[in-house]
């Protein structure tokens, strides 16, 4: 394989590995902009992956699977909302709790229903989102440089991949060009002012967590019925936390979120590629360095050494109306 083929193949897997991060990070963007910390992204993605695999397996329809994933993920969001908005509980504790519930429940139910140690059966055909070949992909394949990039990186992904990239400008537009977005951002900075204006803080925050549940549903469905063909125990494997890291890394802004997710996806793809290969002059680079890099970068950023990540002001603080 020559260098160009290697680059094309790494870029291809970069895209594939970034998509669940992108959906989840955008989900976190909505709640955190509304002032609700969301450590529970991981759990929502995992429960959505399980639900979408179950529904897709039973109905044989990928779209119904996606709907099932979204429904369960929104349910988790509502529990988070009930704990942290209505009951003014600790948002971090609630998120941690939901991660546990999701990690446990998916395996318990999976084992009880399918008896395969927490896996769901293999899903195939219409029950999966299969790759789409964009127009002219085969025709331009032989064009130098651009041809293989178009055919193997841009084309040949499933519908959820394109939706993920579409979600970025939509998120930007909703947050920065609509009244809902303006209010949502305001509630994350100064809920008191929003309340004074006669707008319900509670309802705004609930809508934010519901949107997050909706987006995490896509991330879960992508994992279980687009990228893989079954739900596997713990298949989110910390991606929810990486998405959280990407969100911080992007300083809570939609387009930078996309770049951060692509960067972390690239690190992952590159780590897979580098496994067992030696770098000239350095020797074999331990794969663990690439695995730890997103987390290290985020800590360095949080420390303010490479710019400052300033979270929404009211993040993590339950809102209490003055009486």
């Amino acid at each position: 394989m020559d260098l160009f083929d290697i680059i094309v193949s790494i870029l291809g897997s970069t895209i594939r590995l970034s998509i669940p991060l992108l959906f989840t990070a955008l989900a976190g963007l909505f709640t955190e902009r509304a002032g609700i910390f969301d450590i529970g992204l991981e759990g929502k993605m995992l429960s959505a992956a399980f639900a979408s695999a179950c529904v897709a397996y039973v109905t044989g329809d990928a779209w119904l699977g996606l709907l099932g994933g979204i429904a369960v993920s929104i349910l988790f969001s509502l529990i988070h909302g009930f704990a942290s908005i209505t009951n003014r509980g600790n948002q971090i504790v609630s998120g941690v709790a939901l991660n546990f519930v999701a990690a446990g429940l998916t395996v318990v139910l999976g084992q009880a229903w399918f008896g395969q140690g927490g896996r769901t059966p293999q899903i195939s055909g219409e029950a999966r989102f299969s790759p789409i070949t964009l127009p002219f992909a085969d025709a331009v394949r032989d064009v130098p440089v651009l041809g293989p990039l178009y055919a193997n990186v841009i084309s040949g992904n499933n519908i959820l991949t394109y939706l993920a990239f579409a979600a970025v400008p939509i998120t930007w537009w909703v947050l920065f060009r609509t009244r809902f977005g303006l209010r949502l951002r305001a509630v994350g900075e100064n809920p008191g002012a929003v309340d004074t204006a006669g707008i319900s803080v509670t309802w705004l925050r609930y809508r934010a967590v519901i949107v997050a549940g909706f987006l995490c549903g896509f991330a879960g469905a992508y994992l279980a019925i687009a990228q893989s063909a079954a739900f596997i125990k713990d298949m989110s494997a910390g991606k929810g936390y990486i998405a959280l890291a990407a969100l911080i890394f992007a300083k809570w802004k939609p387009v930078p979120v996309m770049y951060a997710c692509l960067l972390f996806g690239f690190l992952d793809a590159f780590a897979n590629f580098m496994q067992g290969k030696a770098v000239p002059g350095i020797g074999e680079v331990p794969v663990q360095i690439f695995q730890a890099l997103p987390y290290i970068l985020t800590c360095v950023l949080l420390a303010g050494f490479i710019g400052v990540a300033r979270p929404p002001k009211a993040g993590g603080v339950p809102y209490t109306k003055e009486r």
């Binding site: 939901l98 546990f100 663990q288 987390y295 420390a303």
Partner: protein, 367 residues
């Protein structure tokens, strides 16, 4: 008037409400068991028999309890200072490195009781060191401790896998683990303690670190409620701005609280590494750091409550393992569900029953 400001007697706040939260968590777990077609009461009976029914079962239960006391104390100490330390898992993992390095160095020269104090220090030192960076970032750079400790769990896991696969591995072996410690690097079992109660320990790895855990619980109680530093930590936890105004140094107190928290988490490693498997293995912590969050919330961050909550989770872990054996439909992950529900109801929804309690209490007082 808001019900939040009505004072309730301590037995309701620290006794009844946590108990109620726990019962709701168990009730929902029972519903899950019922949902997957098993009998919840039968499951409960198997769980209790499997954890308390025999000498070796009790031994395993107390083995888990030991780990959870350490991590529960770790979370609680940070919590008193207003810091939510999610990093106990990673700190315990690194603590294992400290304990193992001491055991590997000393085990062939001295008996276990000479190794032990050094191992305690080593484990605590490595755990504290891993907590230091997030603590420093919180104190000096204003990074959010929850985020940084989560990140450090992952960085710690990557670091330890690297060390076990590439550095500490026994040459020629496939398994990523250190060599087995000689008896000089192992903590002896507490079979004599069990024998006092007429119980046989059997193969259960219940060991001396249980006593260290109890001593640490006492020391944490003394630290939090009987020292100036503890007072400063609690003040900081209740109101950072008031603490700073009163002249309590913010950065110093945060860093010290996290060092103690990390040290306690690190000491957890003594139990599985030197007390049970006699070698350092991948993922030996097995989620005990996260259980510590549930234990600390259940125990209301008080050492006595933590010891009791740790025992409860010990019963769940050992009983749950036995249960999954007897009822193959219920997997071990059922414990994770229960744990999540306990964290949800005892932590995030702790005020849910308060308004009802206030109403009931006022009605009773009037009657």
């Amino acid at each position: 008037m808001s019900t939040a400001s009505v004072p309730l007697p301590n037995w309701i706040t620290y006794g009844l409400i946590p108990l109620l939260n726990l019962l709701v968590a168990f009730f929902i777990s029972g519903l899950v068991v019922w949902w997957i077609g098993e009998n919840p009461l039968q499951a409960l009976r198997l769980l209790i028999e499997g954890s308390l029914g025999r000498g070796d079962a009790i031994g395993f239960t107390l083995f888990y309890t030991t780990s959870f006391i350490f991590t529960g104390l770790s979370v609680a100490v940070a919590f008193h200072a207003g810091l939510f330390n999610i990093g106990s898992e990673g700190q315990a993992y690194l603590g294992g490195l400290g304990a193992a390095l001491v055991a590997l160095t000393l085990d062939r020269y001295v008996p276990w009781y000479v190794t032990m104090p050094f191992a305690v220090i080593g484990a605590a030192f490595f755990g504290a060191a891993w907590a230091f960076i997030p603590a420093w970032l919180q104190a000096k750079r204003g990074s959010h401790i929850v985020i940084t400790t989560i990140m450090f769990n992952f960085i710690g896991a990557a670091l330890m896998v690297y060390l076990l696969v590439n550095v500490l591995i026994v040459p020629g072996k496939m398994a990523p683990e250190t060599r087995t410690f000689l008896p000089g690097g192992q903590l002896p079992k507490l079979d004599w303690l069990m024998a006092l109660f007429g119980l046989k320990l059997g193969p259960a790895p219940f060991n001396v670190s249980f006593l260290i855990a109890l001593i640490m619980a006492f020391l944490v109680w003394a630290l939090i409620w009987r020292t100036k530093l503890g007072y400063e930590m609690r003040t900081l936890g209740i109101s950072p701005s008031a603490a700073v105004y009163a002249g309590i140094p913010y950065a110093r107190t945060v860093i010290i609280a996290m060092l103690i928290s990390g040290g306690l988490a690190g000491m957890m490693a003594l139990n599985p590494v030197m007390g049970a498997s006699a070698r350092l293995q991948v993922e030996f912590v097995g989620g005990a750091g996260f259980v510590g969050i549930a234990v600390s919330l259940m125990g209301r961050s008080h050492p006595l409550g933590i010891v009791l909550a740790a025992f409860l989770f010990g019963i769940l872990y050992q009983g749950g393992a036995d249960l999954s054996f007897e009822m193959p439909n219920i997997t071990r992950e059922m414990i994770v569900v229960i744990q999540g529900l306990v964290i949800l109801f005892a932590g995030a929804l702790e005020y849910m029953f308060r308004p009802a309690m206030v109403l009931l209490y006022q009605r009773f007082k009037r009657a």
